[in-house]
């Protein structure tokens, strides 16, 4: 029992020692670095998979060690939890000490002031009491204590700069608060992304199913999202002549709170750097792209149109890829239907240029949209029960021979492909889509408050020096007075010299000032 207590005590002491805190700080820095150097799942999971494939066994080893999700890994958590404990262990005793310091009197004047890092002395004709009175006046703003010594000498002990420790404690406690707020945000926050057609289509933040991707906090189950709805009316982008984007603007209407009941829409110009803040959530404009519109006229005369977003593959020219899929109309037999599904897949160029039949895009704006597409017919596998990307066809269906390529052609707006069975596919043009992000973080305001407190505390604690000065006036036998001044900066000597020089000059030569 005794041993166990001793062990606990020693562990606590070791953990709260400054050198341990320093070591943990280094470990934290070292541990955070792989997150910048290795691809991270949270930022780009495709890149992680690629990296693992490229690097074989040690790629997989790093995966086991959590190096692709550094900030959620057990070892990173261990470091910051230990640091957190160490910080608390350092701070609590300092807090008690701080409160007792606040009431404490400046310490006794040392016997030998000449030993202090800062020291000055002089003889004067003034009486001891005059010297002390003048010194008291000069040391206004300092916390002072006057004492008398056995040989008739009088001293003043003065100290100032108590705010340094105040700032120090504010900084560290704010740091603790920031970490707690950060953690709360990770628990109760969520982020969801969704692509919405910028042709008056709507999106409602009513459930997880409405999102294309959703990243919940640990305590979020997706059932209690803040309700609000958004309607994207249009999207405008402007570009410099070299294709660099100059501005993005999506005109949206939104309703939240009471507006949901009354059906009132409020307009908002959604731009990069200007998220919509409503009902405690934020809505961001993240990206944009093009949606090609295809109209299929089937042999029996029925027509179907489809507008499905294609995704940019080249961020500069917005050359995009995708797959628009059609079910044949008026076929009730599912077997038969699955033999005649159509997919138009390939590339879309907003400003097409052709090198022979090879199409590419030379500008991100939809100046001369065109597509270079393959048409597949057969079983798309959409009824197979397996999920598939909306941007591509299921290649395994092609490999199995159940989906066959029936045409390949470049199409400009209004041009058509005629298939062997008489089906006609027309490219009608492109519209815009925008990708939106909904973010919810109930604690981020507290993160901001704590970080401002941190900066304030840091500034105060680094700018202010805790320093002491002692004055001793000793009566001499010849009736004169010997004045001695000593100074000590408690935390950092740098920069105290200048202040002390001025101070000691005033303290030693007050008499001359008075006379002149």
């Amino acid at each position: 029992m005794k041993n166990a207590l001793a062990f606990l005590r020693n562990t606590w002491r070791g953990l709260t020692a400054m050198r341990t805190a320093l070591t943990l700080l280094f470990l934290l820095a070292l541990g955070a670095l792989p997150g910048a150097l290795l691809p991270q799942r949270s930022l780009n999971s495709l890149k992680v998979d690629e990296f693992i494939t490229d690097n074989g066994w040690w790629g997989r080893l790093l995966d086991k060690g959590g190096f692709y999700a550094v900030y959620g890994s057990f070892w990173f958590s261990a470091i910051y939890v230990l640091l957190f404990v160490s910080l608390v262990g350092c701070l609590l005793p300092r807090l008690w000490e701080y409160f007792s310091q606040m009431r404490a009197k400046p310490v006794l004047t040392p016997r030998n002031l000449a030993r202090m890092p800062h020291h000055a002395e002089a003889h004067t004709d003034r009486a001891v009491d005059d010297v002390i009175t003048a010194a008291r006046a000069r040391l206004k703003g300092w916390r002072t204590v006057e004492r008398e010594e056995a040989d008739g000498a009088r001293t003043i002990s003065a100290e100032r700069g108590y705010l340094r420790e105040t700032g120090n404690l504010v900084f560290h406690f704010a740091l603790l608060g920031l970490l707690v707020a950060f953690a709360l945000g990770k628990m109760f926050g969520y982020e969801g992304q969704v692509i919405v057609q910028a042709t008056g289509k709507q999106f409602c933040n009513s459930g997880v199913f409405n999102f294309d991707s959703f990243r919940p906090g640990l305590r979020v189950d997706g059932t209690q999202l803040t309700p609000f709805c958004v309607r994207v009316n249009d999207f405008h982008a402007t570009y410099l002549h070299n294709g660099q984007a100059e501005s993005f603007l999506a005109n949206i209407d939104y309703q939240s709170g009471e507006d949901l009941d009354t059906g009132t829409w409020k307009p908002y110009p959604l731009e990069v750097n200007h998220p919509l803040r409503t009902a405690g959530d934020r809505l961001y404009l993240l990206g944009h792209g093009y949606t090609p519109k295809f109209t299929v006229t089937f042999p029996n005369g029925a027509t179907r149109s489809a507008e499905v977003q294609w995704r940019p593959v080249d961020p500069i020219t917005l050359l995009s890829e995708g797959a628009t899929k059609f079910d044949p109309p008026q076929i009730t037999d599912s077997e038969e239907r699955r033999k005649n599904q159509l997919a138009v897949t390939g590339l879309l160029a907003p400003s097409a240029v052709f090198d022979g039949t090879l199409m590419s895009s030379n500008f991100p704006e939809a100046r001369k949209p065109a597509v270079a597409v393959d048409v597949f017919r057969g079983d798309l596998g959409t009824d197979s029960g397996r999920g598939q990307s909306i941007f591509s066809i299921d290649q395994s269906m092609v490999d199995k021979g159940r989906l066959a390529k029936v045409a390949r052609q470049n199409l400009e707006v209004g041009q058509e492909i005629k298939l062997d069975d008489g089906t006609v596919i027309r490219f009608d043009g492109v519209t815009d889509w925008v990708s939106l992000q909904v973010s919810h973080d109930p604690a981020q305001v507290y993160v901001l408050v704590f970080s401002m407190l941190m900066v304030a505390g840091l500034g105060v604690s680094l700018a202010i020096r805790r320093r002491r000065v002692w004055v001793r006036a000793v009566p001499q036998q010849d009736g004169r007075t010997f004045i001695e001044v000593g100074g000590l900066a408690r935390t950092d000597q740098a920069g105290y010299g200048g202040e002390f020089t001025g101070l000691s000059r005033d303290l030693l030569s007050a008499e001359q000032d008075k006379e002149s």
Partner: protein, 320 residues
């Protein structure tokens, strides 16, 4: 916003002149450092200053008339004058760039580097007033000239507007604060490196015997590093904070472990460790200096590697 090509050209000339003038100043500083009299009495003088009263308060002290300045000393003084001239050109280059593009002149890596180096030089000039460090001018200006040369050649980007994500008043605030604080951190980085040399020489006089003898005392270098870190670190903190506020508006979250954010965090932790180490018995001196040096290396790493090699949200370099 159209770009004023004439002003942009003037800005480039000013930039090149600044590099040229700094280079010249570097030679003069190095001359003084190499051929000037070694500051043998540095220690004694430091002690007197630390003693508090200063020479002029000692009664009966005869202030000697100033001796004829040696050539090295005259070169040193010329170097300071040239540095100030270079700062003028440097400021002019940035101002003209800003006027030419109609935005804050720190929207790509070239401009960022220009502001960073300006902050480094100005910090040094300011600290020169309270520390006897004129001879160190060369050590500060060499990295400055290298950075400016790289900026003016490999990283150069013609004056142009910036992309939508950067069109925010936070560009003015966040980038300037980060860039200035990073530039200021160059000074303690150099001071700490020199401290390590000097401290090694103090322990074993045969180490760096010729070089270290002409450096200021280890104590001066340590105080220089600390003072400049103490100035720059809160600013760096504020810069990261402003970045988080901007990221909340631009990218949808205030902190997302983007590579640049991560390395900024890491260097922040390292500088925090430096401040703690300097206040911890057994870690003062060489250990603290090593930490500060690591912090400086991380800052440089963050500037080049993260911007040019990795891809992240901060890939605005405007190169390649």
């Amino acid at each position: 916003m159209p770009v004023n090509a004439t002003l942009a050209t003037y800005s480039d000339w000013m930039y090149n002149s600044a590099v040229g003038v700094y280079l010249l100043a570097t030679f003069l500083y190095v001359y003084e450092q190499a051929f000037g009299r070694a500051p043998v009495k540095a220690k004694e003088r430091d002690l007197v200053v630390a003693g508090g009263t200063g020479d002029q308060w000692k009664p009966g002290l005869v202030v000697p008339t100033k001796p004829e300045r040696s050539r090295a000393e005259r070169f040193g003084r010329m170097a300071v004058a040239l540095t100030l001239l270079g700062v003028l050109f440097h400021v002019a280059a940035l101002v003209l760039r800003g006027v030419a593009t109609g935005r804050a002149p720190w929207g790509n890596m070239y401009e960022y580097g220009a502001l960073l180096t300006l902050a480094a030089v100005v910090t040094f000039v300011v600290l020169m007033r309270s520390f006897p460090i004129r001879r160190l001018g060369g050590f500060v200006l060499v990295p400055v000239v290298i950075l400016m040369f790289l900026g003016g050649t490999a990283l150069y980007a013609p004056a142009a507007p910036v992309q939508p994500a950067l069109q925010s008043y936070w560009l003015v605030i966040h980038v300037s604060v980060i860039s200035i604080s990073t530039g200021m951190l160059l000074v303690p980085g150099v001071a700490s490196l020199l401290y390590l040399v000097k401290a090694a020489n103090d322990r074993k006089p045969e180490k760096f015997a010729k070089f270290a003898g002409r450096l200021p005392s280890a104590d001066t270098l340590d105080r220089l590093a600390y003072r400049s870190t103490v100035l720059a670190f809160p600013l760096f903190t504020i810069g990261i904070m402003f970045g988080a506020i901007w990221a909340e508006a631009a990218w949808g979250r205030f902190w997302g472990w983007d590579p640049k954010e991560t390395v900024a965090f890491v260097s922040w932790v390292v500088y925090a460790a430096y401040l703690h180490a300097r206040a911890t018995a057994g870690w003062r001196g060489a250990n603290a200096a090593w930490i500060n040096t690591v912090g400086f290396l991380l800052t440089v790493f963050n500037l080049f590697f993260i911007n040019l090699v990795t891809t992240g949200l901060h890939s605005y370099a405007g190169v390649g």
